[in-house]
């Protein structure tokens, strides 16, 4: 603490600067227009080589004080070629031509800024246009498909949800997409390896998910080592740099309002049967099945929602979980008027029992799907003001978002405020102050499995409301009725973040700058939960009147000191030399408390005694009771050198020495170097190919690190347990003090070229990225006390090609059409693993039959030279059309993977014919067959911007190819898992499914109940080398190609005519209408083709979003 205080004070001391100033003598006025003659707003007008600058107003006009008449002015603006012009006596009219953005952009490389032409790094950049109409509260989602090699896997439609990782060039881990599906508390659940890039927002390391997209001015992603090595410690997964909006010196105050309303509707939901269809199907299925179900219990003792039972007293039917009943029985017990009322006024129906004609069934449709999937309404408002004098500039904004999801009871609310202030007390010293406050109040779905996978599939015959209007609990608390959850389970979640940063830029002399900065990031998360007492005549949850509170407070202190020297030697030798230091300290404190058996339902806070006596045993009420403190520190020293000769020959190098506290003392520090070079061929005198306006070749090599390890990996951990109400302590993992930094070495070769005066731009990159000393666990022999140990576990390689193409297709006075395309190809391969005596040093995996060489071979897991993410499954040869076919097979083959009771029953018509790959007469794990890959090989996107006069149209699409998805939601619905109460999809009565003796050539096996417990596991079959996840199916007909083209965004916006706007006393007004996630072009039949985990278990599909909005500027 003392140390950081000293650092802080020292840094602050540098905010005192020397004094010097200049005096304006004359002024120049003028107007900057585009090729169509329209004024351009926001063009920077600067005196070349001197002081004084301004920015054009909404009409493109400017007025600038200059030291003397006849100076040269430089005009520059994003999206236009800069231009120099001598100030003349009269008004200066300047026309700027629009360019392809890529070539002229200013790029931040490490701690310096460079023009795109002079950088040797592979960097993708997004302009403010891409963020302008972002409909999701989370800006990460807006990046999808826009940059080559940057993949945003979004698997949930939950408002505010984040992708598991931002995966750049395949990441550096084996499992970047995770195995989880859906989310819990806004976070993806299931195991995944953290492989997200370092995100730096206005110089502060912090996550991007909760940043208001409205405030983002530019966003760039740095992909190769030339750009990331300078971030050493955390750069291995790429670096995302976000700059928020700021005011400009010498600009008029400007006030902007922005409003957007969005309607979200569910898209691609599973199409379930209605009650009438389901009742017929369910009763006949149970009646006819060969599976060893207790048919009598199911059909006649209310064993499932399509089963009847005999009611004996009034009121029983109205609170029974199943809506199906015997008509005559209910009439006898409740009376004819009661039943008549149900039918006449409450939508109840009757039907002849399909398995026992002559018996009349009474039932109703709960319309559950219509109750839980709604249209979500979002309101988003932003207000900002910006401007500046010659000494100061400012940007202040306040935003409010309330995004409601399509799943009932989910939303995301955010209040945020941002202030960016620049002060220039003297000409050679500038101070920037950033303050940002966010308050996030979301309502997330508690968990994927219970709430989304099970809770959304309740059959149409399960009672959702009792006769008194109260919701029923659902079949089980683990298969809940969402409406019951919403009534009795209350959560209050809030996250408050406060980020502040003070940064100075002291121009000591000439090109020598000293740039110290300090930032503090505070985040307070609080989760409150209260489960109210539920009616006593209901099934009760496992803990009653449960209350929980958890708070997590995290703090991050960051101190940077940078010394930079820019100089030119003999006119054409340009140097930038930089050295710096970064110190980051992260601390966290968590407090978790939980208690049950509360005395009341009125307050969220816990006021119960810690113990109670039940059946004479003193029992604790405490369900959760823990606190934790964490602290990590990192310190880094770095240097960077950029050199170019006349803009033709470029050379850069960076060196970083990084330390991180979680490593053992001797392994704390590591070096990460990089070097890169470029050649602007088109700038050579010999270059005479006019159509090619720029041509740059660049190459880079470098290393970046990863310190993704826990302190317990290095030092070990002993955790507490309880036995017989006494506390025990036991070793929780093996430690490995020898762990060292994971390093990622990237080689990148790139060509950047543009044709026809920059109308067509092309960037091609080839990279080879090797991650060595992977921080991952290594399997140990099973006789060890733990299955694995944290280890520097070998190397993996990502290799690929990226292409970014941009083209201004049409350009006329009033019509422009620009298009940009990004394509990336990536393959992840394990290159090295520690020697373990196995072939290819394989870790994990299983033995399967190799049909080609007629032998058992090891496959799966991870092995040297093998691509990561393979998917094996059981191959289906067809569906038994007849009983005779099945009997013939039973005589020869045994399916050891059917349920224990199903093995006894054997195959029948309608079951899958599994391939006996090794021909041993037994279906088991050895019969697994390679099916494909979970992760795509090629991904990309395309954006089109058309503008005509004030109108502009934007169409964005993106795509992925080469991945396989297990349609787990369908498998689960057709096989009904271990249960009997999941709704059935319409597929179950479609033309593809076996329904009766003699149905030949069908794709799907029979619809069945309890496929896992009693059935043949036609659907609920997991392969040891497959997705191996309960909510997926490793059976070939359920594994589908995921290739898709997503219509991500269509936006039409209109810029009101200046004359109209003037009447409103405004300077500009833009109205827009947007549709997001219109749909997919895909053969995949499940809910979410954007699944790269191999598993689509259903859940919370991404919504289709319709937005209307306007921006008004004064």
């Amino acid at each position: 603490m003392k140390l950081s205080l000293r650092l802080l004070m020292l840094t602050a001391a540098f905010f005192i600067a020397a004094v010097s100033h200049g005096q304006p003598l004359s002024s120049v006025a003028g107007k900057v227009t585009d090729s169509a003659g329209k004024g351009i707003e926001g063009v920077t007008v600067k005196v070349k080589g001197g002081k004084g600058a301004t920015v054009t107003n909404a009409e493109g006009s400017f007025l600038l004080s200059v030291p003397r008449p006849g100076v040269t002015l430089v005009f520059s603006a994003v999206g236009f070629s800069p231009r120099e012009m001598r100030a003349s006596a009269g008004a200066l009219n300047v026309s700027l031509s629009r360019v392809i953005e890529n070539m002229q952009d200013v790029i931040i490389v490490g701690y310096t800024q460079q023009s795109r032409a002079r950088t040797t790094a592979s960097v993708s950049k997004l302009g403010p246009d891409e963020m302008k109409n972002a409909v999701d509260a989370n800006p990460v989602l807006a990046l999808q498909g826009k940059m080559a090699g940057v993949n945003i896997p979004v698997s949930s439609g939950q408002p505010g949800a984040s992708p598991v990782n931002i995966v750049i060039r395949g990441g550096t881990k084996l499992n970047p997409y995770g195995t989880g599906i859906g989310n819990s508390g806004g976070d993806a659940i299931g195991s995944s390896d953290a492989t997200s890039p370092l995100v730096i927002i206005d110089g502060v390391f912090r996550p991007m998910a909760d940043v208001n997209p409205y405030n983002i001015e530019s966003l760039q992603v740095m992909k190769d080592a030339a750009a990331t090595a300078i971030y050493g410690a955390r750069g291995a997964n790429g670096v995302v740099i976000v700059k928020t909006k700021s005011g400009k010196f010498n600009s008029r105050p400007r006030l902007s309002f922005n409003h957007r309303t969005t309607w979200e509707t569910a898209s691609r939901n599973l199409d379930y049967m209605d009650a009438t269809q389901y009742l017929k199907l369910a009763r006949t299925t149970v009646f006819n099945t060969h599976d060893a179900l207790d048919k009598n219990s199911l059909l006649n003792n209310g064993g499932f929602s399509a089963g009847t039972k005999v009611y004996t007293a009034k009121g029983q039917y109205g609170i029974n979980i199943n809506l199906t009943a015997l008509y005559d029985n209910v009439v006898a017990v409740e009376g004819q008027p009661f039943v008549d009322n149900l039918i006449k006024n409450k939508g109840y129906m009757t039907m002849d029992d399909p398995i026992k004609p002559g018996t009349k069934l009474l039932y109703a449709d709960n319309h559950y799907q219509d109750l839980i999937w709604l249209t979500g309404l979002t309101n988003n408002d932003n207000i900002s003001v910006d401007g500046g004098s010659d000494k100061a500039n400012y940007f202040m904004s306040a935003g409010y978002t309330d995004q409601a999801g399509t799943f009932i009871g989910t939303n995301y609310k955010r209040y945020d405020a941002l202030g960016n202030f620049g002060f220039k007390p003297v000409d050679n010293f500038k101070v920037d102050l950033m303050v940002n406050y966010q308050n996030i109040v979301p309502n997330y779905v508690a968990g994927f499995v219970n709430e989304l996978a099970r809770g959304t599939r309740i059959t149409p015959l399960i009672r959702v409301f009792k006769d008194n209007g109260d919701p029923m609990p659902g079949e089980l608390y683990t298969v809940p009725n969402r409406l019951h959850t919403l009534k009795y389970d209350q959560t209050r979640v809030s996250t408050e973040q406060f980020i502040s940063r003070l940064a100075g830029d002291w121009n000591i002399a000439g090109g020598l700058h000293f740039k110290p900065s300090v930032s503090y990031y505070a985040k307070d998360y609080r989760y409150l939960y209260m489960r109210k007492g539920t009616p006593a005549n209901e099934v009760q949850p496992s803990t009653q009147r449960q209350k929980n509170e958890s708070t997590t407070n995290t703090r991050q202190l960051m101190i940077d000191q940078i010394l930079q020297y820019d100089f030119t030697f003999r006119n054409d030798h340009h140097f930038t030399v930089l050295g710096g230091f970064n110190y980051t300290r992260n601390t966290g404190n968590t407090v978790n408390i939980g208690s049950q058996r509360a005395t009341n339902d009125y307050i969220f806070t816990i006021s119960e005694p810690p113990n109670t006596t039940i059946n004479g045993v003193t029992t604790t009420n405490v369900t959760d009771f823990s606190t934790s403190l964490t602290e990590t520190r990192s310190a880094s020293y770095f240097g960077q050198l950029n050199y170019d000769y006349d803009g033709r020959y470029l050379l850069s190098g960076a060196l970083r020495y990084d330390g991180f506290s979680n490593f053992a003392p001797e392994n704390k520090y590591a070096f990460f170097p990089s070097i890169s070079a470029g050649w602007n061929v088109a700038r050579e005198k010999f270059w005479h190919i006019t159509p090619i306006s720029t041509l740059k070749l660049r190459a880079s090599w470098g290393q970046a690190g990863n310190n993704d390890l826990n302190i317990t990996d290095t030092y070990g951990n002993y955790s507490t347990t309880t036995y017989a109400q006494g506390t025990g302590i036991v070793r929780a993992n093996l430690s490995n003090p020898n762990l060292k930094w994971e390093a990622t070495t990237t080689t990148d070769l790139g060509i950047e070229t543009s044709f026809f005066r920059d109308r067509l731009g092309l960037i091609v990159d080839y990279y080879n990225k090797v991650t060595s000393d992977r921080l991952a666990s290594k399997p140990l022999p099973s006789e060890a006390p733990f299955g694995s140990i944290p280890y520097n576990n070998g190397s993996l390689r990502n290799r690929g090609v990226e292409i970014e193409l941009s083209y201004a297709t049409l350009k006329s006075r009033s019509f422009t059409w620009t298009t940009s395309l990004a394509i990336a190809l990536n393959k992840t391969v394990i290159t090295k693993l520690p020697a373990n005596g196995r072939a290819k040093n394989r870790q994990g995996g299983d033995l399967i039959w190799d049909s080609k060489n007629k032998q058992l071979v090891e496959a799966g897991g991870y092995a040297e030279g093998e691509r990561v993410g393979g998917l094996w499954g059981y191959k289906v040869l067809g569906v038994f059309a007849t009983e005779a076919d099945a009997a013939a097979w039973n005589a020869k083959v045994k399916d050891n993977l059917a349920s224990p009771s199903g093995i006894t029953v054997g195959k029948h018509a309608g079951d899958y014919i599994f391939q006996d790959t090794n021909g041993d007469g037994i279906i088991d794990a050895k019969d697994q067959v390679f099916m494909g890959w979970r992760t795509p090989l090629i991904m990309g996107g395309m954006q089109n911007n058309l503008s005509y006069k004030g109108f502009s149209l934007r169409v964005a699409v993106d795509f992925s190819m080469g991945h396989l998805i297990s349609n787990g939601a369908l498998a689960r619905s057709l096989g009904q898992g271990r249960a009997y109460n999941e709704g059935a999809p319409k597929t179950a009565l479609g033309s593809d499914i076996w329904q009766k003796e003699g149905d030949a050539g069908k794709k799907y096996a029979r619809f069945s109940f309890a496929d896992y417990d009693f059935g043949q596991r036609n659907y609920l079959r997991n392969a040891t080398l497959g997705t191996n996840y309960t909510y997926s199916s490793d059976v070939s007909p359920l594994l589908e190609k995921g290739d898709f083209l997503a219509f991500r965004e269509v936006t039409l916006s209109y810029e009101l005519k200046a004359a109209v706007v003037k009447k409103m006393h405004a300077s500009a007004m833009n109205v827009f209408v947007t549709v997001n996630n219109l749909g997919y072009l895909t053969k995949y039949t499940g809910q979410n083709p954007e699944t790269y985990t191999g598993v689509d278990g259903g859940g919370y599909p991404r919504p289709r979003q319709y937005s209307l909005g306007a921006t008004l500027k004064f």
């Binding site: 219990s297 369900t623 403190l629 330390g659 036991v730």
Partner: protein, 496 residues
């Protein structure tokens, strides 16, 4: 250039001091107990010992190895069996990864290694007790494992890093030798305590002198009958049984209280695995309890069914097999109501009462205000079991008279009176197996019982267990591909 370089260094290290540079990254773990901090005081060993017991509990609760392959259970409303129940085991189906056993063993080995440096000079009894319990636990883990796989690697080293000694499988006999060595060490240590008393059971949930003797009895019987240890082992078994008898246990007069009374106050229990709803949740009997909707509802005798309100608390997956019910030939057997109850339903058409599922009524859990939860302590050794094992040892030696004496102790409590059948060795041994089937039904011992009596020739398990009939599945489990792949010295279990 040199100047610039100096400038780079100046604002960083010089300003905060070189010492600061080094110290800057020293962060002590604040919320994790690490290798550096633990086992630094004598007080660290007792909690560590407690921390090993949950492993014992989880093995005691695992019915895949203790029951599933026996004849005791058949599916009910649901089915929660593994393929062990259908006797389908192969290296690629239902094979074993024994890492959980070696994790538990590893914890014992670590404790032995660390305690070396601590003399406990002021509390030698504490040291003796900790060591005695730990030896007993390690013996229990190895005994549990060898009954499942036979030959097993003997890991005695405390593994603290990636260097795991690669071990081949030692023969089952050698494993038993290790077990007896640990048990004898344990008993010796108990006896060395100044406060030693044969009758001391400080906790029924942890190993004490009496329960170590019970484990020794069990292991000797196994060694004698399965591994051909002969009369010597049988005599040792009898000695161990007598030691348990001397520890002051008494039979509950009411059989209903045997499994429903908490072990802490249960005079019959020598050792139990602790269960309580709010500490552990449910035990394996969760799968045996019927649920109301679609299960118990509508039954004529619903009040005598151990039903639960929701399938979260009872899966309705197991019922008592006809074969196990058939062992109860005497309708006066007082154990019947505490062993099973047959649900009686009304046939909707004929209105007749028809028998349905035979629900297990042993380990029916605790009825709480909201629902029933199967949180009975899982009994590992109790006096009736000891009597029957002692009888088995006598019978093995041909001393059927003493065997019948001990058999009768159990029968008399059950109300079935003295044994009156033939007194030849095969008949008495078969009777003992049947009596164990009645007395200890669903107490997670049946498969091991069958293996002992199969090895001794009393039964042929391949004809006795319906699901094994016509199969040649070996009686030990196969090792799975993960286990075999990570240690080249291992060989697959014989027969696979």
């Amino acid at each position: 250039m040199q100047k610039i370089f100096n400038l780079l260094i100046l604002p960083t290290c010089l300003l905060i001091g070189l010492a600061g540079c080094k110290k800057m990254l020293n962060v002590a773990p604040q919320s994790s107990i690490t290798e550096q901090t633990y086992f630094k005081s004598e007080g660290d060993f007792d909690p560590y010992l407690t921390g090993i017991y949950p492993s014992m509990r989880s093995l005691a609760n695992n019915v895949t190895y203790g029951i599933e392959r026996s004849e005791e259970l058949v599916p009910a409303l649901n089915s929660r069996f593994t393929t062990a129940w259908s006797q389908i085991l192969s290296p690629s189906t239902g094979a074993l990864n024994y890492n959980a056993w070696y994790q538990a063993i590893g914890n014992c080995n670590l404790l032995f290694d660390k305690i070396k440096d601590f003399p406990f000079s002021t509390a030698p009894d504490t040291r003796a007790r900790i060591l005695a319990e730990t030896y007993a636990l390690r013996a229990y883990f190895y005994f549990h494992l060898t009954r499942i796989i036979g030959d097993a690697p003997i890991m005695l080293q405390a593994v603290v890093d990636e260097n795991v000694p690669l071990l081949a499988r030692s023969t089952a006999k050698d494993v038993m030798k290790q077990i007896f060595s640990d048990l004898d060490s344990s008993l010796l240590l108990f006896r060395s305590m100044s406060s030693f008393s044969v009758k001391a059971y400080p906790s029924k949930y942890r190993f004490a002198y009496g329960s170590v003797q019970a484990l020794k009895l069990d292991a000797k019987l196994w060694s004698a009958k399965v591994l051909g240890g002969g009369d010597a082992d049988l005599n040792d078994a009898i000695t161990a049984a007598s030691e348990v008898e001397a520890s002051g246990l008494t039979l509950n007069s009411d059989f209903g209280k045997v499994t429903s009374t908490r072990a802490a106050g249960n005079t019959e229990v020598a050792l139990a695995a602790y269960y309580l709803r709010d500490e552990t949740g449910a035990n394996y009997a969760l799968n045996a309890l019927p649920y109301l909707v679609g299960g118990a509802q509508g039954a004529v005798n619903i009040d005598s069914l151990p039903y639960v309100q929701t399938t979260s608390n009872g899966q309705g997956a197991y019922q008592m097999s006809p074969k196990s019910r058939a062992l109860f030939t005497n309708p006066k057997d007082k154990r019947i109501p505490y062993t099973w109850v047959t649900q009686r339903n009304i046939n909707p058409t004929t209105k007749d009462t028809v028998p349905g599922i035979s629900w297990i009524t042993k380990y029916t859990g605790t009825k709480y205000a909201d629902d029933r939860v199967s949180d009975n302590d899982i009994i590992m050794y109790r006096l009736a079991d000891i009597y029957l094992m002692k009888a088995e040892a006598y019978a093995g030696l041909g001393n059927t008279a003493d065997a019948i004496t001990y058999l009768n102790k159990v029968r008399n409590r059950a109300g079935t009176g003295n044994y009156t059948g033939a007194t030849d060795k095969p008949t008495v041994e078969k009777e003992l197996l049947d009596e164990r089937g009645r007395e200890l039904f669903f107490e997670n011992k049946r498969w091991y019982d069958l293996l002992r009596f199969h090895s001794a020739g009393t039964i042929n398990v391949y004809t006795y267990v319906p699901n094994l009939a016509g199969k040649n599945t070996p009686l030990y489990w196969p090792l799975n591909t993960t286990v075999l792949a990570n240690n080249k010295l291992l060989t697959q279990t014989q027969g696979y």
